[in-house]
Amino acid sequence: MSEAKQPKQPKQVLLRIKRQHAPKEKPVWEEFALSWRPAMNIIICLRDIAENPVTRDGKKTTPVAYDSNCLEEVCGSCAMLINGQARMACSALIDQLDQPIRIEPLSKFPVVRDLAVDRQFMFESLKRVKAWIPIDGTYNLGAGPRVAPEVQEKAYPLSRCITCGNCLEVCPQVNHHNPFMGAAIFSQVRLFNMHPTGAMHAKERLRASMGHGGIEDCANAQNCVVACPKQIPLTESLAEINRQAWKQSLLGWLVG
């Protein structure tokens, strides 16, 4: 790393950041040199820049816009491309990255500004597939259905999806021409179809999972499961929903 090449100088962190002032403007790259400290992550670097917004060649610039919130990989805000990889900025530790570190916004979502992108598409998709348990009301109706520990252990990992969008970013089927909803969404369909109450409405969810942007657009590239920061078995979910969808359409065809 740079340390070996410049032994006398204080250690630095070199960053190349793709900047874009507004959705329709042309992106430009800016370079920053920050002073290294132990246990830095990308968020700390972006804060350093906000405190002293000057590029590597001494030019004044603006603080970098980016999304962040929990900083512990559970809110899903800070997904970006770091050295070409879709990942969360908070858990991207500087000492584990090759420098200069290249930082870009996710490419499959509209850029708002700099590294901040609009992932509303995912929330709309969750609406489309009815990713919820339709309860009668919040008044007291007693306990929920019993769930076997085995089922809980399968469902819980699915319910940890943080809607970060990394699985959409790496999916070749998600692009400007194709509204494929992405692995995260179908994994949620699987989750709700697995729940005893949710299963009563599985058909509705499956219907919404077919058609334009639906499950049949999955081409089995299997990039999603690798990119998921929560290790959700996304390919299993895709296969399962594909199976359920086929079964439903076949049955529909058989019974006319």
Partner: protein
Amino acid sequence: MSAPKIIVVGGGLAGLMATIRVAEAGIPVELFSIVPVKRSHSVCAQGGINAAKNQKGEGDTTQKHFDDTIYGGDFLANQPLVKRMCEAAPGIIDLLDRMGVMFNRTPEGLLDYRRFGGTLYHRTAFAGATTGQQLLYALDEQVRRHEFEGHVTKREGWTFLSAVIDESRVCRGICAMDLRSMEVKTFPADAVIFCTGGIGAIFGRSTNSVVCTGSAQSALLQQGIDYANGEFIQVHPTAIPGEDKLRLMSESARGEGGRVWVPRNPSDTRRAKSIPEPERFYFLEEWYPKYGNLVPRDIATRAIHRIVYQEKLGIGGQAAVYLDVTHIPRETLDRKLEGILEIYQKFLGVDPRNEPMKVFPAMHYTMGGIWVNGEDQATTVPGIYAAGECEYQYHGANRLGANSLVSCIFGGGIAGPAAVAYAQGLRKSADAASCSAFASEEKRQKEKNQALLSQHGTENPITIWKEMGEIMTEHVTVTRINKNLETAYGLLTDLRVRYRKINLSDSTQWSNQTLNFARELENMLILALVITKGAFSRNESRGAHYKPEFPERDDANWLKTTRASWVDNDIQLRYEPVDISQIAPRPRRYDAAK
């Protein structure tokens, strides 16, 4: 009059619950949130949610839950509503269960419960170690369903700036800013429910999320709302230090059998695992034999500070102690604690299943918050309600672990219908209210933005924020000394002067995050003063508020709620008695059965 309109500000657990309740009443809701609501700070809650279901046959009751909560809070909470919350808790668990929360299960398919701090019962339902995330998602899904059905309009990416209060001192709506277009706009509403969460950012680094600035609470204070018990700040005993954030290591690690210790010899350089049992000091177990590692947070935090700063027994002379789960079977750890162990592993590169974790206390929660009445979450201004961490009334001087999620859902659940009833009873709707209040509020907020954007000072907002955080962490957290509190107050006042000279380094009118941060910073500085002044004035030790100069709880003089208000650009404190109608105060000690 026309159908009422309700606004909810904040989409964490409390805000979502309030939204659902209003939507269920058939009243349209507008839900404002800085981040998409699914990314709210409630996702960070880890360990679980309390309800006395007595599922383990230990004889637990809601009365015992109530007593533990009041006792754990050192008798500062008004009691009647806390009692109602504890009674409602089992029903809340049922509701969440029906919504599909993937709680851990027993072999019989029932909900599993674990132990938590400040109680001797298995009272905490949990979904792995990401319970807050699972609960938030369940409510988020229900709100999405109401949105789909047309009852809820979400305004995500908007930040609250101020309330619109008319000449008769009644709230008629809010003024908010679109964080993309930076548009400042007013929105009429017959009632507004604030669920704006924690204030961690005032301490610079904390376990809180970036949006937890307390900015909304401070803005409301400046508009005439009272802020109560601000000086009660919970410092969580176990977090991983980090430059950007202090990441929480849930109490559930201890609930599942985790042990806190240090080497008896601080210069012991051996690997933790190779230090034999007799050479380890399990100080919580030794000092508090009855509750051991599960003493309440204020007690555990002070014990760790004593070990590090007085006994000089921190690991290798550092400000750190071991939180050890290595003796717990791997399968149990993965099933019950994976979420938090994964955080430790990702951020430190060490597997806590093999090596004890190194942890230190961190600012975590505010017991204080917006003053609300003890009935229906109403504040001092008609039409404004508050629920969740942003208000003060459930946790007294110290919150018990796993009580926050239940208080958010209970409070939000009350605030929703209360706001509806209030709005339906109004003689004049917000739409009919005089336009001048809206116009003048919008103008005031636009002028604030203009002033910030056009000034060219020499101060950076991040620098001022970091300094504020250092002052607050050093002087206004675990140990409070009057001389230091006075110094802190002076330093904060200086920062407010320097604030007038800030330079945003960004004068653009699109997605200008620095402008928003600068606005929040001004509000944070004022709330920092409220906390510091409250701490300075309260000459006793109670719960999380510890003053070595006044080491005892002083019920004769201080069994009182602090009420801060903003008068002529200054903080005024006054005090009101605590409702102790249910449980008589008694000394609080955890070294023996209570």
